[in-house]
């Protein structure tokens, strides 16, 4: 294959991705978190922003692990002047605890909305805004159509949405860019010292649109991630029909 055809092929691939909601990926200069090896699971080797991710915790501990992981991811999306929003049914998040992951709680707008319908309304409203870089929402049941609305909202604004789906709610297939499952693993202490060290997670990508699934071990080392892939699973998913 000549250099020219490779070039053309690359360009065409970019175009197809752009049609599939990866429009922002092509743009340079967007803030995105660096998850090390995990980035390779996504097209172009870049963490998708301007899209909606979903987290599927199975119990309280996994929920907390997802919240911890997200508080490490959000600062990279927000940058020094950005702001983010966290929507919960009942706020249990402890603002001083987020600082450990570099997330300044004073740049976080908390919404406490007991009604599921209200949370979805607020989520859509926040995703539509160009001022809010990232929105995390704890959700119960969501319909496919609703998730599609969120996708449309972020496509217009460029924000990134994270749905933390409640362990007790029924899980339906949604139009999201990736499905994650985060669980805690033993922390790592340098040089085998005793005590609780850097927090670690087992990060599972169950589904990634135009990317691949996989399992990784990820550690938060105070100012960045350290990552190791556990298994080599799944070839790159073929470009699917865009939903």
């Amino acid at each position: 294959m000549s250099v020219l055809t490779t070039e053309i092929k690359k360009k065409l691939e970019q175009e197809v991705l752009a049609l599939g909601g990866f429009r922002h990926q092509a743009k340079e200069g967007l803030r995105r978190p660096d998850l090390g090896l995990i980035n390779q699971a996504f097209p172009g080797g870049l963490f998708p922003v301007g899209a909606v991710h979903e987290f599927l915790p199975e119990n309280k501990e996994q929920m907390v692990a997802s919240q911890g992981f997200l508080s490490a991811v959000l600062p990279a999306l927000m940058g020094p002047d950005g702001l983010a929003c966290w929507i919960t049914a009942k706020r249990e998040l402890y603002p001083p605890g987020l600082a450990r992951f570099g997330l300044a709680a004073d740049k976080l707008i908390f919404l406490e909305l007991p009604r599921a319908v209200d949370r979805l309304w607020a989520l859509e409203e926040m995703l539509r805004s160009t001022l809010v870089s990232a929105v995390v929402a704890e959700t119960d049941a969501i319909s496919f159509v609703q998730s599609r609305r969120f996708q449309l909202a972020v496509e217009a604004s460029g924000g990134t949405g994270f749905l933390l789906r409640s362990p007790s709610a029924t899980r339906s297939v949604l139009s999201t860019i990736a499905s994650w499952k985060i669980s805690a693993i033993k922390s790592r202490m340098p040089d085998g010292l005793p005590g609780v060290g850097f927090p670690g997670w087992r990060v599972e990508i169950l589904k990634a649109r135009n990317g691949r699934a996989g399992v990784w071990e990820l550690f938060w080392e105070g100012n960045g991630f350290a990552c190791k892939e556990l298994t080599e699973s799944g070839a790159i998913h073929r470009l699917k029909k865009i939903i």
């Binding site: 002047d81 998040l93 605890g97 450990r100 004073d106 707008i109 919404l111």
Partner: protein, 499 residues
């Protein structure tokens, strides 16, 4: 300044109110009673009863002897003011300032209002019709002073409109009781044969002062307008207020929206001239024969753009019921703030143009769900975990914020949950703990971190916190309340989860 007052006397206020709620009692003799020294006394009666010669303060037994089929109900004297206030709200469609008097009278300061209804007579007619539609019988009069208006409703001709400065002429033939004097004084006047106000006015002022005291002169002056009477409006005056009356009742949402837009444009034009912006706005719709409907919005920053305020109202307009038609609208701006040319920065480094947009976003959310649902936090200088942060305004506060770098959990339980632990050595972290029936074997632990009670805020046991990690790598924040040394066995609690 020349003033004009309307006095509305609800002659059968309490019984009318009862009849509105129980229409089947109509045309029956009806009294309200109160208990006094073991006697049942009549405190209010309707027209049928009064016509047959039964007076107020007659005992119920005597009244029953005169009118055999008399119906009696308990009086609720403490409620009367509340009810009257509701009617004052109702009157707000006629004039901006309403005041209560006693338990059955309203004063309206109608200076400069009547021409909107096409003159004094149609104005009074409108008031009468409005209350007749609900079911209240009233007596009305209009005069330059409150005292004269009151006197004429009680003792004068109904619907009397006194021309400017002629109130004393209208009162000449009324009895002295029309001056709102005490019973003892009235008895003395009666004894002396002074049956009309005319007779009183013919006497020299010095003689009146000597014989009856300053009170009588004060009341005469209040009626004539020589002396100002204090005016206590039910609603404090609002500087920015606009009203819109419509010829036909508005029944559609579009109609209401148009009215609101119209009012907002008028108000914001006024505010712009004064360099002010809206912080709070109240939109009221008045209906004939029904309670008024009201919606309210608030904003974080002073807003001058009518479209922005309209968008906030839009979310709430759905809840506004228009049935059976709104015939006049009122827009109040109880809170305004000067508009700064340059808005303050919200967060350090944030672009200034974003302020307005962000304020609008937060307004939309807080107007829909309530301001308490939206929060932002700043660190607070306390070691006690529950007090280590404080809630702040979602827009302002907190430049140069530094969060302390301590190992704190991502999730903190609002109420610590008790756990069962196995601790081989006091002051060491537990080997395992049981929470909600699940046993967690502890592999790694950090601690203790002792946090003492802040005695100037709260007394109690100190806490020793441990960060523990179980076999599965899940991290928890546990604490022991108190010490082992004291002899008793201290309790352990789970307080948080680390991410």
């Amino acid at each position: 300044m020349q003033k004009t007052f309307v006095c509305i006397w609800f002659k059968y206020f309490k019984t009318d109110r009862l009849l509105i709620r129980q229409p089947d009692l109509k045309d029956r003799p009806l009294v309200l009673i109160r208990k006094e020294h073991g006697k049942m006394l009549i405190s209010a009666a309707n027209e049928q009863v009064l016509k047959q010669g039964v007076q107020h303060n007659t005992s119920l037994a005597d009244a029953r002897a005169i009118i055999p089929g008399l119906l009696s109900f308990d009086d609720l004297p403490e409620k009367a003011t509340t009810w009257l206030k509701a009617l004052a709200v109702y009157c707000n469609r006629f004039c901006p300032s309403v005041s209560l008097s006693g338990t059955d009278t309203l004063f309206l300061d109608v200076t400069g209002c009547t021409h909107l209804w096409g003159g004094d007579a149609p104005y009074l007619q409108a008031i009468r019709q409005c209350f007749a539609a609900i079911g209240y019988q009233l007596r009305l009069s209009m005069a330059d002073t409150m005292g004269a208006a009151w006197a004429l409703t009680r003792y004068g001709k109904d619907d009397l409109i006194v021309p400017p400065h002629r109130q004393m002429d209208a009162m000449l033939l009324l009895p002295p009781a029309a001056l709102q004097l005490e019973a003892a004084l009235l008895a003395r006047l009666d004894k002396l044969g002074l049956k009309t106000i005319c007779q009183l006015l013919q006497l020299p002022r010095s003689a009146l002062l000597r014989r009856f005291g300053q009170v009588l002169l004060d009341r005469i002056d209040a009626c004539s307008g020589q002396r100002m009477e204090s005016w206590e409006p039910v609603f404090p005056p609002v500087k920015y207020q606009e009203r819109l009356a419509s010829l036909e009742p508005i029944l559609t949402r579009t109609g209401v929206e148009m009215a609101l837009q119209n009012l907002l444009e008028k108000i914001t034009a006024q505010l712009k001239r004064d360099g002010m912006g809206i912080r709070q706005a109240v939109f009221t719709g008045f209906k004939t024969g029904h309670e008024p409907v009201q919606i309210e919005v608030g904003t974080q920053l002073a807003v001058q753009d009518p479209r922005r305020v309209f968008r906030l109202f839009e979310i709430k307009l759905e809840a506004l019921s228009v049935e059976p038609g709104i015939d006049s609208f009122l827009l109040d701006i109880p809170r305004t703030d000067p508009v700064k040319e340059k808005q303050e920065k919200i967060w350090q480094g944030s672009a200034e143009r974003n302020c307005e947009e962000l304020a609008e976003l937060i307004d939309r959310i807080s107007n829909k769900f309530g301001a308490h649902r939206i929060s932002r936090f700043l660190p607070d200088e306390h070691h006690w975990p529950e007090r280590a942060y404080q809630k702040t305004n979602p827009l302002f506060g907190g430049e140069q914020v530094q969060w302390p770098s301590m190992d704190r959990p991502v999730v903190l339980l609002s109420v610590p949950e008790e756990i069962q632990v196995s601790v081989p050595v006091p002051d060491y972290p537990p080997l395992l703990f049981r929470h909600k029936g699940q046993v967690h074997e502890i592999i790694q632990a950090d601690g203790p971190e002792r946090i003492e009670q802040e005695w100037w805020l709260q007394e109690g046991l100190s806490r020793d916190y441990y960060i523990v990690e179980d076999k599965n790598g899940q991290r928890y924040w546990l604490f022991r309340s108190g010490n082992y040394a004291s002899g008793s066995k201290p309790s352990w609690f789970l307080h948080g989860y680390f991410g």
